[in-house]
Symmetry: C2
Subunit: 726 residues, 2 copies
Amino acid sequence: MLKYLIIITLAAFGNFAMAAGRPSLIITQSEAEEIRSVLGHYLLIDNAFNRLQKDVEKALVEEIELPMPGEAGGYAHEKHKQNYSDMKSAGILFAITKDEKYARFIKKMLDGYAKMYPTLPAHPLAHDQKPGKLFHQMLNEAVWLLNTAQAYDCVYDWLTAEDRSLYETNIFIPMAKWFTRDHPQEFNRIHNHGMWVAASVGMIGYVMNNRDYIEMALNGTEKDGNGGFLKQVEMLFSPDGYYMEGAYYVRYAMRPLFFFAEAIERNQPEVKIYEFKDQIIKKAYYAGVNCTFPNGIFVPINDASRTMDIKAPGVVYGNSIVYDNYGEDINLLGIAKVQGEVPLNKAGLKLARDFADKESVPDFTWKSLELTDGYDGKQGGLGILRTGEGQDQTMLLMKYGVHGLGHGHFDKLHFIFYDQQKEVIPDYGFARWINIEPKFGGRYLPENKSYAMQTIAHNTVVVDEQCQNNFNRKAADQVHGDRHFFDISDIHCQVMSARADNHYDGVEMQRTMFLIRDENLEWPVVVDLYRLKSQTEHQYDYPIHFRGQLMATNFEYASNSVIQNPMGEKAGYQHLWYEAVGKVKDCPSITWLHGHRYYSVIASNQNAEVLFGRTGANDPNFNLVSEPMFLIREKAKDHLFAAVIEPHGYFNEASESTRQARPRFQQVEVIGFNDDASVVRLVGDKGLDWIIIVNNREASGITHTVTFKGREYEWTGNYSVQKSYK
Amino acid sequence: MLKYLIIITLAAFGNFAMAAGRPSLIITQSEAEEIRSVLGHYLLIDNAFNRLQKDVEKALVEEIELPMPGEAGGYAHEKHKQNYSDMKSAGILFAITKDEKYARFIKKMLDGYAKMYPTLPAHPLAHDQKPGKLFHQMLNEAVWLLNTAQAYDCVYDWLTAEDRSLYETNIFIPMAKWFTRDHPQEFNRIHNHGMWVAASVGMIGYVMNNRDYIEMALNGTEKDGNGGFLKQVEMLFSPDGYYMEGAYYVRYAMRPLFFFAEAIERNQPEVKIYEFKDQIIKKAYYAGVNCTFPNGIFVPINDASRTMDIKAPGVVYGNSIVYDNYGEDINLLGIAKVQGEVPLNKAGLKLARDFADKESVPDFTWKSLELTDGYDGKQGGLGILRTGEGQDQTMLLMKYGVHGLGHGHFDKLHFIFYDQQKEVIPDYGFARWINIEPKFGGRYLPENKSYAMQTIAHNTVVVDEQCQNNFNRKAADQVHGDRHFFDISDIHCQVMSARADNHYDGVEMQRTMFLIRDENLEWPVVVDLYRLKSQTEHQYDYPIHFRGQLMATNFEYASNSVIQNPMGEKAGYQHLWYEAVGKVKDCPSITWLHGHRYYSVIASNQNAEVLFGRTGANDPNFNLVSEPMFLIREKAKDHLFAAVIEPHGYFNEASESTRQARPRFQQVEVIGFNDDASVVRLVGDKGLDWIIIVNNREASGITHTVTFKGREYEWTGNYSVQKSYK
């Protein structure tokens, strides 16, 4: 851990900001002049400039308004957000155009804040967050400062000394004191909130040439390296760059990460921030954008919205920074094509020029990859298997890393299946209507804890209707999943396997997922082997949340169609309406329709119950989204859930055409499983007959044998798929 | 009615098909040669040609298969559909390319049918339809013949006399006999099925030069004008061209309509089919494509899918025919832009040339219009109000015409509200998973009758939890809604008003809907005045089915969140889960979120109950789609439901930005209503204060007065909107 500890001392920097001239945070005067000279030449620059100008012109004609602080998502909250955004945009426009109307706008706004800010107490509606004064939580106040510092940077030289003195005395110094002296815990916290707070103080520090602020920003309020930006970056990202809170929050963490990193690089190049921790900033970016579906939406694991995508501001900024600093990757141009703009500085200009030089820019295509988790990279990870190209990729994701702090979900060995440009077996994401005031002020809803975070809200086995780690976040943060193996050497048969042995007392779990592209099948299929091991009998629920409409099952079920109750009483089950239950006699096959394809789950369970549910019970305020699911319920000590997830056929309502509404696979037989291996046979129509073998011992490339039902199976490596077609 | 009766006698036509040469149904040899000569020049022609070629080339390499007839939507059913489609396409390709492989393909296929057809009995799975032999219902058999006739037409001259004799003896003659002699009732039926059957016999009649067939096709099996194509066209379309079954079925009826009309025009121009009934074919086309949302999807009134659009084959064919015969409307080029292709004949070529000549073709934009219903145009109608341009139009539709036969829904005075390129207050459409074999063979589901057709499934008042006309289709077909007035003279305030007095015993209903574009409001709003009149007290339920997520109400409600029962026992209520109920004390305001906007209903009811529901109860096979609704329940004799439907604000989850989650309107006060007039006051924030007056007497342009609560209101015409902003 000490490897990356860098204490930046006063001696390490000179009179930087003065030397470089202002602005110095994200754009310099010479960059601004160059951008002015190329306006009208590069689409991505023009898009960015035009958008800023449109936003700011709108703000210029409206009256400046600084409402008294209010609740999250309310009018005042949104207005102060708008204000910092407009100030920042006006600052950049001023740098580029030199039109003083922009500077006057910022001055007028800051005059207002200089009058208001000293009168404000700690915000009374902080709930369980550290308060700001303008905003209910310090986080938003730090975002305000990080943006306003950029505006201040752009007009610093234009303002009079009296103006500057007024703003610094009445706003920036008290705000920095609030962050560093009154609430140092938040400042030093290893968390994205901490990054924002530290970065914001560092940004204003560079503008004000305040070395104290800068040192604290980099190394913590005690300047000892135990807090602050560098420590946060070191601890929050795995060596592969995976962000511990997950993909939705990384796009947010990217903003302080890239804005402050770029400010450091511009003002203190001797820090070599872009080399820090083996180029962790580059890795963080690539890990982040790899955690997206082919449509550019971040995978909604942990607390996450289902629509956040690579057009988020931190990603737009980071894309050009990474392109400029780490090499001209064509995939980054593909991202820029989706984003439609670049930051207005030298990095953005470089990307925009290269973009314009290309005859055509292909869609970005990510490959299968595993991202290790934990600051040391030894705390499990995230496995992503992909097949196909561009927007038509099919993607299978399994989560087996750390819990991920307060926004973590209790969902180890959970998977998401993406196909046809949509989530087919989805993650619920968070229970939150973000920033919508009538919905609990736009904050996380109670149902986020009572449902969205619970194990049953995910596609992973639930033991005894309990949540993993008994919903104890501290306990969950102490443990993690473990990788078993991840093998993408055969592009037609990609496999990932992982364990979670510390999430249910006395139950060990191992999940192995295959993504198989077979020439005899129309679409890629998933084979899932979920093994549970325990000394005592448990109830094991294997849930599949799906999107679309149930079409068919191969078993009878009893529908609760005139009285409906919740499926259970706790651990999220209380939020599922219990719609139907079937007792299966043979391998259950469940088919639903989504988009233009059918999807079937065919499972090995010969005597299980299959329960059908839908979110919405115990939801007296209509906070949850109504979505269907089913689960396969077994009682056992040791058990192997073996299942095929098969996309099949075609349906087009508009053309009223369809084919193959029934799956090809019909039987999933568990031949045997133990601590050595699992052997499963899949049988379907037209002679489809596959034997699937997984090594359950330590991953290795040796030749194994196992005997089940009197027959010896031999294979080399971690898995084997033996196919025949009669 | 006699006005349009045209009996085509033998004397009226000569040796037409021989004279013109074959093919003669949809393309001639000289047209085919011209198309061959322009291949590669016109996008829309090339698209059509390439698609045909791709389809047929695929068919040519596969083995020809004529499975024994099976159930609807099953393999055999789909295969025989594929066969006629491939034959027809091959015929056109043969005409254009003269490549004999296409002709040989058709011959081989017809050889197979000539062997199989004589062996087939009436199809055993006809249920309540007239059977075919290849298909479970005669309808599909007629579609087969209508298409196969075109293929036969194209290869007729290439075939030997022996071939022709074989096919006619073994297939076409027995099939025509089955239609005209064994089941003349279906042939003569005033129904789209009848059109198909008659047209198919007419088409093969032209190819075979069989005057008997042609006379029957035009004038009915008795050749007396009481059945057959002309009578069907006369009776099924209103003088405005509105098709009595609704918009989903018109796209289907357009196929026999245009294919046979064009065959008549080519073979018997003396019939002047395109002038028939004051150019009813033109009107039918325009009425059909006007009954679409701005995205080109047909409004799903009556039995209808929610995705059928103007790319349907009959519309593609009709578009060029209408363009060629009735004038070069730029909107038809806009439709062709969406359709992406044209028929391969002279009409298609003309459109494709004009399309290519344009620098750019604008999106089609339809205007507000009223379509009268009934063959005489005096049986109510369909009102469509639109505001805005192209894809961004807001649209309000009210249905007050005839029932529409077996596919009619019991939904007089029902409305649909479309905004943001989607249905916001939708129609459920049909309960059917079309052609999906595991879902009841792809046929209409039981829930189509028990839910989708019922009044409560629509956005119109339900009296005493009963269906209109007690769900008696015959009774419903005897009555209709009545137009009151339809006024679009002020583009900022468009109004339609209609009555339905024969749908609930002893209850008269009048609905007046405004679509108002006001400069003080961000989006167009709807004002709805639904008046009920009865001598006895009834329960009146005012339902709003909505898409999206409930966000806020201004009243408390009790949620049935741990036990859920159906909302009622019959008339569709048994399919609604009863989620919550609130007792309102003041004007209820209910807000939901859909897409990027909020929508609120603010109603006048000061002491009503508001019930929240969701489809899915009593649905033991998951046949229904789960969708939310609420209803406002009043008990009264005479009552006026007055409500504003207000779109407001903005939400973007991806950018986490939002504004104005609460509506502007807050109060809806019924000042008074009686048989003379209704007067309502709407009050909102920032001084919003509107008085809405509707004339309830016979429509007229005179000046009216009415006195309510001691105040006299005076206005001229059918309505008045008096706005003030304090």
